[in-house]
Structure formats: C-alpha cells, structure tokens
Symmetry: D2
Subunit: 470 residues, 4 copies
C-alpha cells in the first residue's frame, strides 16, 4: 500500500520534541527549544557567539534517526502523487556536469513518472517551500520563525548517487543544511573579498577556478548538520554509492541594519525637514562652484564648510529618526512573510476552531461565543500580532490567516480603535499568562468582551478552558 | 462525530447515475445523460425546443431525495470547518429587508461560529463556486460543461426561514435553480422590454414597483427544478416555516452570436484589407461634404453611392471572415474557464495517475512508461483538448491542468509540431474508440510513441488496459 | 546681406496665383484652383479619372520658374540660421551608397556649418514638415488640404550632385514630387504584387534586385511634376552635374474604406447587439464540434447553417451601422491633423485679429465687439469647423487653433448647446455667402449675437466689412 | 502704428546696464552686477546678510523709469497680438472679491479683444513665464540665474484699478516684486509658525482672519522693489486711482539642504552597505521584542544599545556619502530648468552662429570651421556646462539648447570620452580667459581641435577673434 502525503509522521527524536513543545507555554521558548534541538549539542550561546554570521559550523552526530520525520523521499513521492506540484513553481530539475549548470523544467504538473525519470537520468530535484506540502515542515518552520524574528524558509534537495545538481555559489541567507537521508560531500569556501562578506544578494554560479580552496570539506551523513553564513560559497555532490536528501533551512534574507536604514532614512529626513528649519534653509548660492565631481579635489574653505554642514545635518538626523515606526514597517514585511501557526489539538479545542457552532438537523446549534468577565484568555502565540501606527490609525497585523504558500495572501490586518490598543498591549505583556476578560484595560465590560471576542474569532486568542465541555 | 468535507456522498439517484456514467464511453454522452437527469422528465429536445432562451420551466417532482448528495447544508458546515473559505471571496452574507439589499461580509476567513451567527440573525449565505470545495459539485459541473460548450458555474444559497436574501434582478446567464433542502417561494417576471431579452449584462437591483407582475409564482420544494433564461427577473424568499438551500447552475455567459462576432469582425476586416484592394482604395476626396451627422438628412446621389459602397464592403466581409479561427479564439476562452476533469478510479488506473513510478527502499522503481506499437489508447474526454492555429504555430489547448478555483491557472497549452497535428486529429475523430499507437498517423514508430507519451504524461490520454498489472 | 527666413516670396506664377485665390470666395474652390495649378496642364478630371491611385503621371514643363517661391535651398539655409531646427526631429541626414542606406543625424540643433558640412560630403538633407518653418509652404498646404479631405503633408529633399539619398521603397501616401531646383533622375516601379497595391503601410528599403524594371524613368527638371500612387516603388538620384531640391507633397495616409470600416464596424456591432435580439441569442451548444480550424474541411449541415447564420448577421450589420458617426470620428482625426488656416491681410482685418482692442496710454481702448443684427458674417473657410455628436453632446471641432507643428496641440473643440447647432448648420450651408446676424436661426437676437461673437472670437467667422473703420 | 512684440526696448537705466554687461567678461560677474542693479542701493552683502531667507526688504526709489524696458503693458498687448498665448497655459484671468478667489480662463488662444474685456471687467491678468515671449525678460533672467545657482523664473501681474486678483497666501520661492507701472498696495505677514518658515510647498489661499497683522504695509510705485522670503504671506491690491503692472522674479524653489539630502541619503546608504560590513550585519534576532511603537516607552538595555547602534550607523553615513555626485544630480535638474543664454551681437559673431557657412548661388560656401592650434577660445558662459559622472560614463550637461519654454526640451547632454574631460576642466578653470587650442590638455593636436570644434558647434565655445573677417 502506497503512502499518502497525510500519513508521514516524525521520528522518535522529533516526535518527542514536538510533543514536549506542546506543553511549553511561551512561543519564544518553543522556538528557542526547537532551535537548540536543531543545533544540539552546540549551545545557542556558543552558536550565536562564535558562528552566526561569522563562520561555518559542522555537527556530526552519527545518528541517522536524529532528524527523522522532518521530511523524506517517500514523503516527496507521496506529495508528487497527491498534491499539485508544478515544475518551475514548486520543483526544479537541475544538473551540473563538466562545469555546466542546467535547468530541465518542463511545463505543467510534476507527476511521479516524469519526475522519477529525470532523477533516474541523473538530475537533482529541488522542492521549493516544502512547507506548502508537508505539515511537519510547516510546523517546524512556523515555530522556528519566532527564534529569528525573520522569515524562515526551506528547500529540499534530492540528488542521485554520483551526481551534483548545482554549481558553486553563495546565497543571501543564513543556511542550515539538515542531512535527512544518504550522504553528501560538501565543500565550503570563505567569502572571496570584504565586499562579499554577508552580502545583500546571492551570487551567480562560479567556475571552480574562481573560488579558491575550501575552508571546510566533509561528507554529511543522515542526522548531521552544516551551517554556513550568507556569502560562504558552497557546493555539494553525491558519492557514487549513495543518494542524498537534505533540507536547507534559511533565514535573515534582507534583514540587516542597512535594510532597516532603507526604511528609516527617508522617513527621518522627511521629519527633519518638517521639524527643523535648518533642513529647509537654502543652499549657498555659489555652491555649484566648489562642489561636484569636477571640484572634488578643490581646496576651498567654502567647500570645507559645505561638507561640514552636510555632516552636521546627517548626524542630527537621528534626532528625528522614527526608529520604532521603521521597525514596525519591517515587522509588517516579516508578518507578511510568516507561516501561519500550527495549532495542537488542545489549542484547537481552546480556540475558535473548537467552537461547536454547527448545522445539525436542519438548524444551527451552539452559535453563541460564551465569553464572560471571568473567561481566562491569552494570545495563541506571542509573535502572532503586531500593533503599528499608520497615519492616524492603529492597525493590528497578524499572521493567523496567512497561507502556507508564500505571499499567496495579502498582508492581514484590522484597524484597532484607540480604546482597544491598551487591551492588546496588556495581552502582549501578560503573555503567556492567562488573564480574565474583566482585567482587560477597556472602559466597559462590553468593550472587554468585544475585544476578546474579535481576537478570538480571528484565531489569535485562546481560552484557558474549553468554552464548551465535550 | 462531526462530518468532514471529504465524507459527503451522493444520494441514491445521483450516486446511481454517476456510477452508470462511469461506464459511458463518450464524454458528450455522459454530459447529455447528466443533463437529461437534471431536467427529467422533460426531454432535452422539448427543453431546447420550447424553453431554452425562451421561457421558464418548472419541474415539480415531489421527491425530496432526487438531487440528494449534490450539496447540503451539512456539507457547507463541514467546508467552513475544514477548508479556507474567505468572506467576500468565497462567501457572501446578504440580506434584503424593506426593499433594502445589504452585504455584511467581514474580512478574513469565514469560520462556522461567525457564519452561523449571521445566519441566526436572518442573513442569507451565498457560497460562490462551491466546486472548489465540494468534489461532487466539481464532478457534476465538469461533466455538464461538455453539454453546453460554455462554462458551467454554480453558486449555492442558504436562506433562513421567513427571510429574503436578494432583491429582484436579472442575470446574464441561463439559470437552473436546483432545490436541495427546505422550500422557497419564487416569483419570475418576463423581460421588461425587447432590449432586456437575453441581455449581455446583469441588471442592478430593482424596486418591486419596477418589475410588474410575475409570469410564474411557485414554492419550490427539495427535488424540484426551476429554469429561466437570462433577462428574466426573479426573486425568492423563504416561507416562515422552512429554511431553503438551493444551488443555481449557470451557463452561456457572453456566449452569443454577438460575442463571436466581436472576435470575428476585426480579424475579418484585417484580412479583407490585406486581400482585397477595394478595401484599400481611398475614400472620395469630397466625402466629408455629404456625410457626418450634420448631413444625415441630405439627399445627394454621392451620399447614396457612398452608403451603397459601405454596404457592399460589409457584405463582402464574409468572404474574408476567418470564422474557424474566431471560434478557436472563443474555444480558448472556454478552455480557460473549464473545470478540470474528474477521473473515476478506473480512469486513474488507466492514466498517468496510475503509473507505479515511485520511490521505494531508497531508489526509484518502475519508472518506464511502457508504450509500444500495440498499446491501445484514446483521449480521456472529447472536450479536453483543442488545436488552434496561432500565427505560424499550432497550439494544443487543454483543460486537464486547470484548477477548481476559477482562472487560478493561466491557460494551459503546448506547441504541437506540424508532424503531430494529424495524430491529434486522428485521436479526436476516433474517440471514444481506442486505437493502437501504431495507427497514429505519424511518420515513424518513435514519433507515434512520443506523441502518445506526451499526451499521456499530461493526463490527456488513457490506455485501454492498465500498463502495469496490479 | 544674408536672407532671413521671413523674407522669401513666391515667384511670378505662384505669387500671381495666391493673389487671385485671395479673391476666390469659397475655400473649396481655392483648393481646387490651387490643385489645378499644381497639375496643370492636366485637368483634375483627367487626373482623378486616369492617374489617382492608379498610375504615375509625369508633367514636364520646361519652365524652371513655375513652382518658384514655394521653397528653395536659400530659404532652407535661412531657416537653419534663424529657426530651431533639430536633427532627427526636423531634419534627417542620409546617404545611400553601394546599396547601403544610412542615417547620420547627430543630436541637437542643426546649424548651417554642420549641416552644410554633411552636404559637402555627399549626404542628402530631408527637412520634415517644412510648413512649420516656411510660411509659403504652410499657406500652400493649408489651402490644399480642403481639396483632399485628408491631411496634406510635405518633406523637402536636397541632394548633392552625383549622389542618392534613399534606397528604393514605396510609401503609404499619394506622392506629388515637385521639382524646385536642379534636376533628378527618377525611376518608378509598379507594385510587385496585388497585396502591395495601395498598401496601408510603407515598405522597408529594397535591394535593387527585388524591384524589377521601372515603368517610368525620367530626369525631372525644375518646374516639373511627378505623381505616383502609394505602393509604387521609387528612387531618385542626382546626375553628376547638378544638385536637386524637390518637395514631396503627400496625402491620403490611412484614408481608405478599410480605415473607415475600422471605426465603423465595432460601433455597428455594438448597436446591432443592443437593438437586435438575434445577435444576443446563444451559439448552438454543439458548435465547437463542427467549427474551428480542425473542422474547417468538415461537411456537416450544422456547419453550413452556422456559416449561413454568420453571413446573415454580418450582412444585417449595415442596418445598424452608424456610418455618419464613424465618418465624424474620421473627420475628428483629420481636423486634428490639419494645418491652421493662413489669413490674407484682408481676412485679418475682417476677423478677430483685426479688432482694435488694445492697451494705450495706460488703459484699454475699443474693447467692444460691436456685433448687431445687421452685421454680415460668414465662416472664414468651409472646412474649418465640423459638428460631431459625442454621447449626448454636440461638439464643434475646429482647426483654427492648431499649430503648424504636427499634433503639437490637442484636438480643439467646444461644446455647442442644442439651440446653437442650427445656427452653425446655417452658416455652413450659406457659405460662402455672407448672412446677417439676425438671420441666424436662434430664438432671440441675444442668442444670435452670442453665437456670432463666440465663433468670431475663435477666429472662425469673418465680417463682410471691417467692424472698425481704419 | 501699433507696436509689435519685437520692438520693445529697455529704458535708459536697464539699456545702459545691459550694454555695460556686454563688456563684462565673467558671466558670474554679469549676474552679480545685474543683481546689484536690481536691489540697488542695498548692497549684495547687506541683502544676503540681513534679508535673504530672513525678512522682507522694501526699496523705494521715486524713480518710475528705473526698471523701464523690462516689461510693460504695451509689450503685453503686443505679445497677445503677435504670439500664441494660451489661456490657462500662459495666461491666467483671476479675481478676488469678498474673500472669494476665482479663475476665469476660457479655453484656447488669448486674443486682445477677449483679454481686455476681462480686464475691463475687473479681472487681473497673470502672464506665466513671460521670458518665453519677451526677449528682454529672457535676457534678464538668463543672466540672473548664475547669481542664484538655482532656476530663476518670473510671472507678470496686471491689475485694474480698485481690484485685487489673488487671495493672501505664501509661496515656496524667494520673491522679488518689481513694480513696473502704476502702483499697488501690499501687505506682507510673517510666517504663522515655525513649520511655515521657509516652507517646501506653497500654501492654499487664506482667509483674512487666518493671517494676523502685516509686518509690512506699503504702496509700491513704479521703480520700487519689494523682496520677501518664501513662507511670508502676502497680498496686493490696487488703489482706486491707478492700475498696476509688476513682475515677480523668483528663485530657490526646492533648493534647500533637505532637497540635497533627498538625493544624497539613498546613495550614501547604498555605498555604506557596499563598503562597510557593519551595515550588512543582521539585526538582533530579538529586536522586535523591544522596538516598535508598542515598545517606545520600554526601558531595556537592549533597546538602548539598538538605538545607539542606529545612531552610530547614521553618523558614519557621512564617510560614504557621495556629496559631489549628489550635487551633480541637483545640478542636472538646475541645468534642465535653465533658460538658454542670450548672445550679444558680438558673441554671435564669435560663436558658431557667426560662421559664414551658407548656400549661395547653387552651392555651399565657407563650410570649414578653421580651427588651428593658435585659435583662442573660451566658454561662452561659466554656468553653461557641467561634467557629471553617470555609471562609468562622463556626461557633459549644457543649457545652450534649452528652450525659452520651461522644460519643452529634454535635458541636453553629450557623452565625453575620458581623454577630453581634462580639456573641459581646463576651459572651466581658465574662464573667462581665452586659451589657445594648442594649450588644451589633450594628447594630439587633432584631439585638441576636435574637442574645441565639438564644443564650438554646440554653441558652448566662442573664439577671441572672428574666424572670418567680415
């Protein structure tokens, strides 16, 4: 009997972990614990102190079952059979031979017979965003994204024995290569120059002679982990005796200080111009005479004063820089990128998804949401909502209605009336403790219940006890 | 135990019919038989002769189970629970009271608690394109579309007892109102004037005083059918004692002779200008003197000759009109609108979906598609492919990779080399008979197998016997 | 002393003619007389009967002074000096040597030193739309456009002795080559095939071997005229002993029956659909089975009926075709293309340009427009205004505020209230007779004066006598 | 005999000045001298020290002839008669009565009879950009623009006695109100608040009660000058006994430090990110927890460190800020805004406009540009060219081919090969001295002559002596 895509389950280590995490109250702690498991036995402290954005880390476990259940080739086969995987959209067929990198995607749906025929002929298969097809990968990544405060993505790579699917290159993300099956020979190279350290954009494919000598060469086996920062060139190829399946977990794409400044600086300048007349004063009438590239070597006290003035105005920008608003702009982007949360069965029971409202015997039943002053509530996750000011309005952005398919949905938000923002801040600061509806800082009990109800109906709030007994 | 959206099954009449249709060879006959069932006991001949595009038809069956299993409120409830239904996208909440029609859609996902709360408060619930959520509706419509040669769509309407959800109006489609549960009081009115007979576009909402007296007034009960042509104003309301669920099956939107001419005329004129110098000859140098609205009452032999010339040129257009190409342009639109086919289990076995190619024990198995000269093949359905010329190329449009969600996918086609078009025409003309691969009119056996394989791999072709024995 | 661009005056023949035309009342007669002069001694009747759109006409006059004063190289030199001529916009520098056609335009303003340097090196100089720079060419073309009811344009070509500036090609306009100075060897070739007779678009450059043998070969000398229809391939080169200057006057670009039908057919179909239910009726449900390119050879009574129906509907289109409205659409385009009229000194005196309203000694003087019931008025030209219906409005399009630079101004029009349209029609039908303001068919005398005043102030109306005595 | 628009000449003071300026070598000195005349007897030093961008200046001269010849109502009348002035484009008809500001522009050309009728009925007439119609205004502004290093524009305002044409408002430009004829009562008000000091954008019209008490109230008479900075509210009305004509000369629109920073900051950040890894380092993984508007009051050492880091990165931006390149971007905008230079008769003789190349007696004459190593050349004006780097290229922007009509022409530039940039810098630094062609720092004499020739042919270079003797 052939497996269907619904049936796959995590192996002992992962299954146990996810079960434990179901009991952890704070979603940031869930994320931290999951990340610790990913990089164990290395500690988070050591990892972020010594490796993150600095240098590769290799963890060799000699435990093929460690990551079992995260993803497998059998699950990939079932996904091809049961779900609508499209060549070029969800799956790339590639090869790298004699220094030549090729893509072989036909058009249309990727059915097993065609896909496996490519594989048999030596092609690599890269599944993009497997979280759209695998519930476990979705669960895994959705938890992890709170660890990074930045989108966490993934691709899987299936490579036939004795072949290589990709040319050496570097990426624009922090990469965690999780070896799931078989083994793969990896070579990792340092950034070639200062400008390629922590780059903003991925590289083109390199020729072998462009990349120097590897700083790390190893054969990853199932259960092993290899991390390297963006900018580190890498290539992996299969030994003649074994295929390879790995999943690369990635984060921190366009998440640098510079990316924040790109949002911050135009707003800072606009506010400086509005608030500080010094920015509105005219340029010297003669400035063109001693500035411009033609005059860049000119020595002139007017030029010196001009440059000093520019320096002063740039430095003073910080006084007007709306840093928090710019962070919220970045947060909006992150919230749009986020995977929606995966609820445990218990969480479902405590959430809007557990309500018994239904059609039965020709009429609706149990339609009321029975919130009272004593109902105990909390946010489902910490990182599931964010309050942002936009113009005169306060908007609540949330991830709960995002799709597993990247950016398939528009950013989701609702406007929050001023009298409710304190209530939401209260829920955030109380998290993960449950609070009584009556403790929400709103004026009337009706307001308190209304706020709790609207958040509950959007799937953002859960109750401490089921609203209905089974 | 609550039902999930997968579990719903057709009732005795529909189940039996679909089983029988599984044995019918020709997809057009499947479609015809399904349509006969829809309008039984009226015959197709009588329907198309007396009612279609002419006047309403009411079929009263006194058999509540007749349409059972097509859709139900219980299935609607399960869909809300299990699938991502969005307010405003897939579901509209409406009311019509004291002559005022309102829409009450909130933003975001439509969860049962919220939806049923609206219902309890007297709102109607219109589910758009239920074929995206219900496998039976999908199956039903996908078969029916070959009957009409035009997109077949549907909406379902759930109305609480004693309420009305919509104002009187007319639509731009032929409507088949299939009463599924409860009962509804309907009033149907003739088009108000010649210009509203078979209109191109739907009307706004009317006030009661604008629509005159109904030509048909009735109470539909479960198992009944009401048909009316586009342009017939209609309104339905629930009696105080029963809710109502019906599904409206629709077709022939923008599918008139005029719509065809909109594609045909510009092409016809372009060809006439290219091929016939009479269209390229200059206008009379003095024509502005006796034409134009200012001169419309002028009596002048030059004006008479001018008008006669225009008449001649319009009449002669037919000589250059590429009618077949214009039809193919229309067919392309229809193919883009089409639902993808639903395969029976047997058909799956005989199609690319039945191939055993798979991942097993660390390697791929049974990857070959073992087509030989003796393999017997035919198209899966007749109306699943269409050859169209575009410029110098021949493109094969097909519906097999469409989505159940309207226009979610781009039109699907592949280019066909000239040596293969005869093969495809042969498959079309042989349908529903199976033919041997060796009988395909291609030059070499390799070509014959290549053509069969490419169509098979796209899900367009099935074999007479399974390629692999179980 | 060097000439300025203002100083050039027509030679004896043209000067005399323009003087005479100043006395001609009807602008169409002015146009007809000017055209007769252009093609003399051939009569208009013979020209339009035997040559127009049919075959070339060569008129050899042995009178170098015949066209004198229309344009000259000395005027071209003065224009370069005094006006802002831009390379690539107003002037092209070209060469054709050894079968290779090249354009040598630099960027920016074309000053004499640079232009003449190109000329000295064997380049041809094509001035585009010389009417923007030469008052005589403007005058000439603005009169002529009423002869054709289609935009009349021009280019001038100055070619050094012993060179050729352009490759053989055909144009999309009727061409009148007016030899102004020197001489040029011309070869004209028949259209190569039926599809190139009276073509809609100009050809690319041809190689000599593509064009066959000329049907006409001659050396044009100053005072000669060569006409050929669009589609006739042509090339001209200078003999070793003389440069050449000619002006090509052109008309009838996109002015064919087909061009009118492009405006007419979509409107006709729209009206047919609105007014005739036969166009709104649905296509046969089975039409895709016997139509389309795949079925183009099928013999089937349903196909025959289908085609017959299409034929009927196309033929019947004439019943709904708004021919006059389509003509007015074409007229609007023509009016936008038109050159503004050139007023004689007398006309200026009788028009708004002759009003004495002015600033003098610190205040305004003679501001009133003293129209009374007895003022005698008429339109300045017949072809200067056109009434068009647009939606519910009547718009008066006019050419008087166009620019000498092609399409520099937007189409000019004003809305006409219903009570004034009869007055404008009356002015058109009375033209060129003067009528009393009191005879205008408006309700009140105030209305009559108001209509006359608004047309007068736009420069469209003149009075019989000056409103103010000098 | 009525004046034509060509005939107007400057009065004694201005005529004498322009004559003197013709002898001044350096174009910046021309500009400075012209500006001194404009504000005499106040010195430039005092003006820029005490008034510019600070407070109004009133200069009362009791010399009605002082500005005579710059512009007059008689010239305005002649312009209406001779040139194509369009309502709404070149001329606005306005009124301000009982607190209500109205615009009365009809469509189309503004002819004297219509314009003067508005005036007689109490409307004000604002001519926009009179430099397009008046050679003296053009001359005046084109010289002045080098004084400001920013576009200098103008409008003229003609107001009937006893009326006011505009509501109180402030503008976004420095304004010099030059009273030309009659007199006008002016009231000027301080900016109402800090944010309206030196504003970036003009205000809407104000009601009288919004603007407080004037800081300056006066009656300007012909020959007087009133300056006020942007942001100062102002209104002017005519006394019952005299009309008023003034021209407002304006500059420094969007020419502030903030406007420069808008160009500079994005480029600075891009360079910082490219060159300094600190900008490419990732944000802290937990930053969303203590930043954002929700956390703006949080006290947390991580927040403090975050803000300090942002401050550091902003301050450090100056190290990477391409100030010169940003200035050149601004300069490009200024060069596009500039009026083209007005050449004196002498300058014409020494420039490309003085070359004798011409058509004479059937052939070209004197076509060579006889540059030799000994030819003495210099730039026509200092502020007529600017070298800017763009990507890898060096472009020479220049104003000489701009139009008198604002932005009618695209920005004009040509690419300069690397071997010629030194030559252009040499010409700039030598200006206003003449240099020998052989002194240009190019490799070969051919290069030197080529560079001089191309600049000369674009009208940017003049020779010390005429290249040809008369």
């Amino acid at each position: 009997e052939r497996a269907s895509a619904q049936q796959f389950q995590a192996g002992p280590s992962l299954r146990h972990l996810l079960q434990e995490l179901g009991e952890v109250q704070h979603s940031r702690e869930k994320a931290a614990r999951l990340f610790e498991w990913l990089i164990a036995p290395v500690s988070s402290q050591r990892f972020f102190g010594q490796h993150w954005e600095k240098k590769p880390l290799l963890i060799r476990r000699r435990n093929p079952a460690y990551y079992q259940g995260l993803f497998s080739t059998a699950e990939f086969d079932a996904v091809l059979r049961d779900q609508e995987v499209q060549f070029g959209v969800n799956l790339d067929v590639t090869s790298y031979e004699d220094g030549k990198r090729e893509t072989h995607n036909p058009l249309g749906r990727a059915l097993p017979a065609v896909v496996w025929d490519f594989y048999r002929n030596g092609c690599s298969l890269r599944m993009l965003n497997p979280q759209a097809f695998s519930a476990t990968v979705w669960h895994f990544l959705s938890l992890l994204q709170e660890q990074f405060g930045s989108m966490v993505g993934a691709n899987t790579y299936l490579t036939p024995a004795g072949t290589q699917g990709f040319a050496p290159h570097y990426d624009d993300i922090e990469a965690f290569v999780v070896q799931l099956e078989g083994k793969k020979h990896w070579r990792v190279y340092s950034p070639r120059k200062e400008a390629e350290v922590l780059p903003q954009f991925s590289s083109p494919n390199f020729a072998q002679e462009e990349i120097g000598e590897p700083v790390l060469e190893t054969v990853l086996e199932a259960g092993d982990l290899l991390y390297f920062p963006r900018g580190f060139i890498h290539q992996g190829d299969c030994l003649p005796d074994a295929h390879s399946l790995h999943i690369t977990v990635s984060s921190f794409q366009r998440n640098s200080w510079g990316d924040l400044l790109e949002k911050l600086l135009p707003a800072a300048l606009q506010m400086a111009i509005e608030e500080d007349v010094e920015y509105r004063q005219g340029l010297p009438t003669d400035y063109l005479a001693y500035t411009g590239v033609v005059n860049s070597d000119v020595i002139d006290p007017r030029r010196t004063a001009f440059m000093k003035k520019v320096q002063t105005l740039i430095t003073k920008l910080m006084n007007y820089a709306p840093v928090d608003a710019a962070v919220d702009q970045k947060a909006k982007g992150f919230f749009h990128d986020c995977l929606p949360p995966v609820l445990t069965e218990t969480e479902k029971t405590l959430s809007v998804y557990g309500l018994p409202a239904r059609w039965e015997n020709g009429d609706v039943r149990d339609v009321d949401v029975p919130f009272s002053e004593n109902t105990q509530v909390r946010l489902l996750r910490y990182g599931i909502v964010r309050l942002c000011n936009e113009g005169d309005k306060t908007l609540l952005y949330y991830t709960a209605e995002n799709s597993r398919v990247y950016h398939k949905e528009e950013p989701k938000y609702c406007e929050i009336e001023p009298e409710y923002t304190d209530g939401i801040e209260f829920l955030l600061s109380s998290y993960p403790k449950y609070v009584s509806v009556e403790d929400l800082p709103c004026v009337t009990l009706d307001d308190k219940i209304a706020l709790a109800t609207v958040l509950f109906e959007k799937g953002l709030l859960i109750t401490k006890s089921p609203l209905f007994s089974a």
